[in-house]
């Protein structure tokens, strides 16, 4: 029975164009079955966030995303009052004879409540997928606050009372290791580390996501990416960059890596000025190691595309 479920999950992930190896499938499966938050760490651009999206589609439910940043506090993540509406309401109510208590109660009702992602996730009719993205960017205070919510599935709004989730959300947390997350968070989650994909996996991702890219070109690109990721770079490109590059080259109707074209499109792959410079300087060497120099000369002689 478990095998069926697992296979179904893998299939669903596959249908969403997500190439998942067994470790990913197992982690997602266990997080879903045992209803535990799943903490996913790994370098930028390896598809951590994507898992939450795929999971939402696989479960046929909504994805609610909380993007973390430094200074994010409980108010911004949980709820806020709609002050404009409250003020307007007070203004319109100015001449009424109602007591102060009544008026206060009326403007702190649910119709003036703006639900931020966490409250949305707790009050969603069907258990959604809650993506808490880049938690390591938020402050430690926020992390602590989050722990409470994740274990209780309940919050208290002073003016309204306690709100408890009927259907606790499926939670995915991601981190880039900008900062070490606390042990407390790790202990409460299942853990998955995703690394840069090996060549074969990246190739199948590219071919899945960018179907119109030439097969041979895709292979060369993935080899190239494999090679540059071994260099000392400020920002090592992820799969997202490979895909951008593949789309661009497909749009340019390339069928192999051509040095000049690579040089012109370096900006798609490398997001740091020094990295671009470094790769440009050793580009001939890199391409040579992929055997691309020879290929280029050969295609130049017999290239049918040159006429276009």
């Amino acid at each position: 029975m478990q095998q069926e479920q697992l296979q179904r999950l893998q299939q669903l992930l596959g249908e969403q164009d997500y190439i998942a190896d067994r470790s990913i499938v197992m982690s997602v499966y266990l997080a879903m079955t045992l209803r535990k938050p799943l903490l996913i760490e790994g370098p930028a651009g390896v598809g951590k966030t994507e898992i939450a999206k795929v999971m939402a589609r696989a479960l046929d439910t909504d994805l609610i995303r909380l993007q973390c940043y430094e200074g994010l506090d409980a108010n911004m993540a949980l709820y806020e009052w709609n002050y404009q509406r409250q003020l307007l309401h007070l203004k319109l109510d100015e001449n009424s004879t109602r007591s102060l208590e009544d008026r206060e109660a009326s403007i702190f009702g649910e119709q003036f409540l703006l639900k931020r992602p966490l409250l949305q996730a707790l009050t969603h009719p069907k258990a959604p997928v809650l993506l808490i993205d880049e938690l390591d960017r938020a402050d430690e205070e926020f992390e602590a606050f989050l722990l409470e919510i994740l274990s209780e599935w309940q919050i208290t709004i002073p003016e309204i009372g306690s709100i408890r989730a009927e259907e606790p959300p499926y939670v995915i947390l991601t981190g880039n290791r900008t900062r070490e997350l606390s042990d407390a968070v790790r202990r409460r989650c299942f853990y998955l580390w995703i690394d840069y994909p090996p060549y074969e996996k990246e190739l199948s991702i590219v071919r899945n996501k960018v179907p119109d890219v030439d097969a041979e070109l895709a292979g060369q690109m993935c080899r190239f990416m494999e090679l540059v990721r071994q260099q000392k770079l400020e920002k090592i490109p992820g799969v997202a960059e490979t895909l951008d590059w593949a789309r661009a080259l497909a749009a340019l109707h390339q069928d192999h890596l051509e040095p000049s074209m690579v040089e012109e499109t370096l900006g798609l792959i490398f997001k740091d000025r020094n990295d671009v410079r470094l790769v440009r300087e050793s580009l001939t060497d890199f391409l040579g190691r992929l055997g691309i120099q020879a290929k280029e000369m050969k295609t130049a002689e017999e290239s049918p595309t040159a006429a276009n």
């Binding site: 478990q2 095998q3 697992l6 190896d21 067994r22 470790s23 197992m26 982690s27 499966y29 266990l30 997080a31 079955t33 045992l34 535990k36 903490l39 760490e41 430094e70 200074g71 108010n75 806020e80 009052w81 002050y83 409250q86 003020l87 007070l90 203004k91 109510d93 100015e94 102060l100 008026r103 206060e104 403007i107 402050d139 430690e140 205070e141 880039n176 290791r177 900008t178 900062r179 070490e180 606390s182 042990d183 790790r186 202990r187 989650c189 299942f190 853990y191 998955l192 580390w193 690394d195 000392k232 400020e234 920002k235």
Partner: protein, 420 residues
Amino acid sequence: MLPDSSLIEIPSSKRKSETRFDDLALRREFSANVVGFCRWLRQQGSNVSAPEQMDALKALDAIDLLEEEDFYWSLRTTLAKSNREQEIFDEHFRRFWYVWDKADQLSFRDEEETEAPTVIIDDRPRKQKYLTINDWLNNADQASEEQEAAGYSPFEVVTERDFSDFFAQDLDEVARLINEIGKSLAVRFSRRTKASRQRGPLDLRRTMRSSLRRGGELLDLAHRERKRQKLKLVLLCDVSKSMDLYSRFLIQFLYAFQSVYRRIETFVFSTSLHRVTEILQTEDLEEALNLMSVTVPDWSGGTKIGESFGEFVEQYALSLLNPGTVVLIISDGWDTGDVDLLGESMRIMKSRSRSVIWLNPLMGNPDYRPSTQGMQAALPYIDILASAHNLSSLRRLVRQLAKVQRGRQLRIDMTPRYGT
């Protein structure tokens, strides 16, 4: 990162297992062994807690136990919560389950890998140099009681003395003082400051509340203030031979600091770099020192500052350094390594962090000039160069760090100070 598939060869034959066990018996067997496995992981330094053990057991119910790969991934997902724990997990998974496999008389392959996991032999020779400080640590409680009973307070006497001059009997007091300084530093750092002046974005929530008291008229505007960012510390501590006398005290200092103040990453280096944050966080000091001396292979060896810093920049600078980070380097700058790499690494550290502080115990000597090649290469990128050779210099460091915390730009303190 992922282990190769040969690792995942646990309960060895699916068919055999099916004939030997009914499902319930199999599960019971597995459960008992998962508990044992968790205990073993804990002995290996992995921080597996009781709820996690429960998770692992629950996961067993949710998977097909005879699928070896699923078994491996489900335990890994539930029990190994960081890269370090995953490493420990991978190192010991096969060893453990393989032995279990054998105990159940199922087929097995490699003869040499049959050592029983419960017998953990650490046969690495302990560094001789370490014994004294360990002996002292082992007897620390006893000794301090005696001192208290005698009403003896060497406080003033020891404050100015160079760490290298201490006798064994002073060590407890020094340790206590270092602890105290470390903790006061931590408290100072974590205290949240709140200015009385009102500025910053409007706090509409409070504004609305106060206006209600006046019948809905907006008379006072409440303001919010951004919480001040706490500093993060990254410590790079030289544990090479020439620093021998100092680094132990400094590590004690770091330990005291870290036990209260958690936003800290600690590395030690000699010929290469080692991250010891977790060691310092999870063990008690004695154990931490022990662990460090066995995990850092070149403890008390030579120094390659350039290479070590290069390693730091390459592996950690991107993720650990940001405008809120203070880099604290503790080294005498005696270097046998790559000077250019040292300079370049310092440049990157400086450009990515709030400030770079270099503690050099040799600065305690009035005749000292930072003239070694290594120090010369590093100097342009140092915000504060200070000594850390005795307790009063550690105190001074606390004050200097507090200034960095308040956001004041600091000038290089080039005058070696000694005494007060």
